[in-house]
């Protein structure tokens, strides 16, 4: 197992190399100039050229690549072109924190309600509850996130001033104070994920509840609660954890629309802004961050498989 983990972690190196080189060249080839973005729409070509020179952006791409890659191998991802020369790692870290907090809350809500409702629907198959849960989860998958977010703001912030309409406070401002701002965006994110997890759980549970060993457990006199939530659910978790892992990785990439509606300074908005302003060092840093997140989360999911199902060995 240890060897397996080491191999998976070492595999990060070639992945980061390929991704890094590819992104470095592609963003410099697309049109757009960071100097022009810094100076604004009323700058002349001479102004842009002068600033480009100062920023070193007039040098050839291979020279810029040599300089960048020699720093990256030492862990120095350079400084942002737009955020006052702040180190890229610091800029991404500042945006990572809100994304992590929001994602964590969203995934907790989605996992809890998704699994509970999925099991409940399966156990009460074909009942009114099952049908109701199916309708709600269908709506959850169909409703666009931006519409849901705006509706939540309308009802809970504008019509009835229960929760703030937008903004973000870090955990350092207090747990309740911080989560007050995250409830609506977390629900917006969680609704679709809950629906997906619920349906996946229900479908797998129905399969498992029809197996011989479940029939045997019932025949032995084991209570329905233990049959459903211990024996059956454990076998469903493998596929559900895959969904949760994918959802977590996806959300850690930043939920741009939700972050925009609720004005949360997360990684999604940072990426969009960096691309629009051609902040090359930050774009490169974020893409590498995505690669790391995906690789690590996939590894975590694989390790969880082993924990849940002792039959799996690497």
């Amino acid at each position: 197992m240890t060897n397996y983990l080491l191999k998976r972690i070492l595999a990060l190196i070639p992945i980061l190399l390929i991704v890094g080189i590819f992104v470095f060249f592609v963003i410099r080839v697309i049109p757009g100039d960071p100097a022009a973005m810094m100076l604004g729409p009323e700058a002349t070509a001479e102004d842009i050229e002068a600033l480009s020179k100062t920023m070193g952006l007039d040098r050839s791409i291979p020279i810029q690549f040599v300089e960048w890659s020699s720093k990256v191998v030492k862990g120095d991802f350079g400084t942002s072109l737009f955020f006052q020369g702040q180190p890229v790692t610091k800029v991404i870290y500042e945006h990572f924190k809100p994304t992590l907090t929001l994602t964590f809350l969203g995934i907790v809500l989605a996992t809890f309600f998704g699994i509970i409702s999925g099991v409940f629907a399966a156990v009460n198959h074909n009942s009114i509850w099952d049908r109701l849960i199916m309708v709600i989860t269908s709506a959850g998958l169909a409703i666009p996130g931006f519409w849901l977010g705006l509706m939540l703001v309308f009802f809970f912030s504008i019509k009835f001033s229960i929760l703030p309409p937008a903004g973000y406070k870090p955990l350092s401002a207090g747990f309740l104070e911080s989560y007050k701002y995250l409830v609506l965006p977390a629900v917006t994110l969680a609704f679709a994920q809950t629906s997906l997890i619920s349906r996946m759980t229900r479908s797998n549970m129905l399969e498992v509840l029809g197996t011989d060993y479940v029939r045997t457990a019932r025949a032995k006199g084991v209570s329905e609660f233990i049959v459903n939530y211990k024996h059956a659910l454990k076998n469903v978790l493998i596929s559900v954890i895959t969904i949760i892992g994918l959802a977590f990785a996806h959300l850690m990439g930043g939920a741009v629309i939700t972050e925009s509606i609720f004005n949360i300074p997360g990684v999604g908005r940072l990426l969009i802004r960096s691309v629009m302003t051609r902040d090359y060092p930050v774009i490169e840093g974020i893409v590498l961050y995505f690669a790391v997140i995906w690789v690590i989360l996939n590894l975590v999911v694989d390790v969880l498989y082993v924990i849940i199902d002792p039959r799996i060995k690497y």
């Binding site: 973005m37 737009f82 309308f154 912030s157 001033s161 903004g167 509606i261 004005n263």
Partner: protein
């Protein structure tokens, strides 16, 4: 007895109401003002960038020698008074107000001013524009500097007074620490001092307790400035509906750039102040005069003749409070305004446009028209022009791509953009020869040179009229119309002066 009691009660209540009412009208110190801005600024160093947003935040922290009053006339700020100008108009002697401190506690001296202006003259496009005429600038004594010109120019004071790309004064050691890159530390003389900048979260400034105001009343962007609130947070919110929700929901106190079509819903909202601004910018279609089909003035005239401006402005700005028809190159309130050329403007004459197209020998070639994603009015222009027989290839792209492509005359024929008001007409992009579109005709260059070097206002005004007449003859671009912003504020925000650009000194909260 009962009557006396009753009278006493009425008197007491009246006095209480008077006190309460006068208390509400009096400015109050304290509180945090949360101001929404449409995005993070690229920098707070106006020597490094001329965007309006950068200047709007920067002028709370920094000040220049001069600024603009409500009529956009130059008034002193850090300077003690308007300068002494030599008879030959080449030497400007400027005295600085004594006892003004930077936010690091040091007093402002002429050395700081000279270092800042030299840096601005090197880094800033606006600075380079003035410094073309500057022979030397030096400190004569700790509170006096002398600016010598190579030839007289009308743009000296107005260049030093403008905000976007402004000649703000920094400590000399900061200018030496960042000689050619944007500042990473922000120390000025303004009523608020910089505290921190969390990208995409906020820029925080707090009251500068040792701020020294000028001794005349508030006037436009100058005069006496008082930091009533303890702190201002400038919070970037990219999405328009989020800006609106956040102020309506009570989370933030002020926002600019709200969609004009929300005005009818919000104007009677009891929890908000609906604040349409004065018209402050113009939409312009720039023609490529270096290459391609729009080099032909007949083609440009055909486009101008076909266009009906009102539908374009309505689709972009909504309520008529937020747009205006105006043939002048400057805003109507400007001392430079005239309506010369109005017969050419806003004709909406499709049949005449068709004739002009025929005369130019147009055979239906594609006309490449670039627009950034934010503006729909070009779609309306396209529809109108297609009726006249134009073949428009409308290319919508994000701003970064357009800003690169428009520097290459082989790639486009027309592009749409906004043009913000300026302190002097010579600073407008529509009158900048080097700006994409490249109005570089000998007649225009000659008139522009006269405009920049003539000092007498009446004579300058006549030259401006000639420039505008030439504009409607050579048609280097199309002035579509003017537009303003829709701003909203919480009910408990007072003292806001709804000028071309917002500012928050002299503003308080209940």
């Amino acid at each position: 007895m009962k009557n006396k009691l009753f009278l006493g009660l009425v008197l007491t209540l009246s006095i209480m109401m008077l006190v309460v009412n006068s208390y509400a009208a009096e400015p109050k110190m304290g509180g945090v003002l949360k101001v929404v801005v449409e995005t993070d600024p690229s920098t707070l160093d106006t020597h490094a960038s001329s965007t309006t947003l950068n200047a709007i935040i920067a002028y709370h922290i920094f000040e220049g020698l001069y600024t603009l009053d409500k009529n956009l006339k130059v008034i002193p700020m850090l300077a003690a008074d308007l300068p002494e100008i030599s008879d030959d108009k080449l030497v400007y002697t400027i005295k600085i107000r004594p006892g003004v401190k930077f936010q690091n506690g040091k007093e402002v001296t002429a050395e700081d001013v000279v270092a800042s202006l030299k840096r601005w003259g090197k880094m800033s496009g606006n600075g380079r524009n003035l410094f073309k005429y500057v022979a030397s600038i030096e400190a004569k004594d700790p509170l006096t500097l002398e600016l010598k010109l190579t030839e007289s120019t009308a743009i000296t004071l107005v260049s030093l007074a403008r905000h976007s790309g402004g000649a703000y004064i920094y400590p000399k050691d900061l200018c030496e620490k960042y000689p050619d890159k944007p500042l990473e530390e922000f120390i000025g003389t303004g009523p608020f001092k910089f505290v921190e900048w969390k990208p995409q979260q906020y820029i925080k400034v707090v009251r500068f307790d040792e701020y020294k105001p000028v001794d005349f009343p508030a006037n436009g962007f100058g005069g006496k400035k008082v930091a009533y609130v303890d702190e201002i947070q400038f919070i970037p919110v990219l999405d328009q509906s989020t800006r609106l929700n956040a102020v309506e929901g009570g989370e933030y106190d002020f926002s600019d750039f709200i969609a004009g079509d929300e005005y009818s819903r919000l104007k009677d909202n009891p929890s908000l102040q609906a604040l349409p601004s004065a018209l402050r910018a113009s939409f312009v279609f720039f023609f490529n005069k270096r290459a391609g089909i729009m080099k032909d003035v007949k083609m440009r005239e055909a486009v101008l003749t076909a266009l009906d401006m009102a539908p374009m402005l309505i689709v972009d700005k909504g309520d008529e409070k937020f747009w205006g028809i105006n043939p002048g190159l400057v805003l109507k309130e400007s001392i430079w305004w005239s309506d010369i050329g109005k017969e050419m403007y806003n004709q909406g004459d499709i049949e005449k446009a068709k004739m002009l197209l025929q005369e130019s020998g147009y055979k239906g070639e594609k006309i490449v028209w670039m627009v950034s994603a934010e503006s729909d009015m070009t779609l309306v222009a396209k529809k109108q022009l297609e009726k006249a027989g134009f073949n428009i290839d409308l290319q919508t792209m994000e701003f970064a791509t357009m800003s690169e492509r428009r520097n290459n005359p082989e790639l486009w024929d027309v592009f749409t953009t906004g043009m913000t008001w300026q302190a002097d007409p010579s600073m407008l992009t529509i009158l900048t020869p080097g700006y994409p579109g490249w109005w570089e005709s000998p007649k225009f260059i000659d008139l522009l040179d006269k405009f920049n070097t003539e000092l007498d206002f009446d004579k300058r005004y006549k030259v401006m009229e000639e420039i505008q007449e030439l504009f409607y003859t050579e048609i280097p671009a199309i002035k579509v119309g003017d537009y303003g912003n829709f701003r909203i504020a919480a009910k408990n925000v007072h003292g806001f002066q709804n000028l071309n650009e917002p500012f928050f000194w002299n503003v308080w909260k209940d």
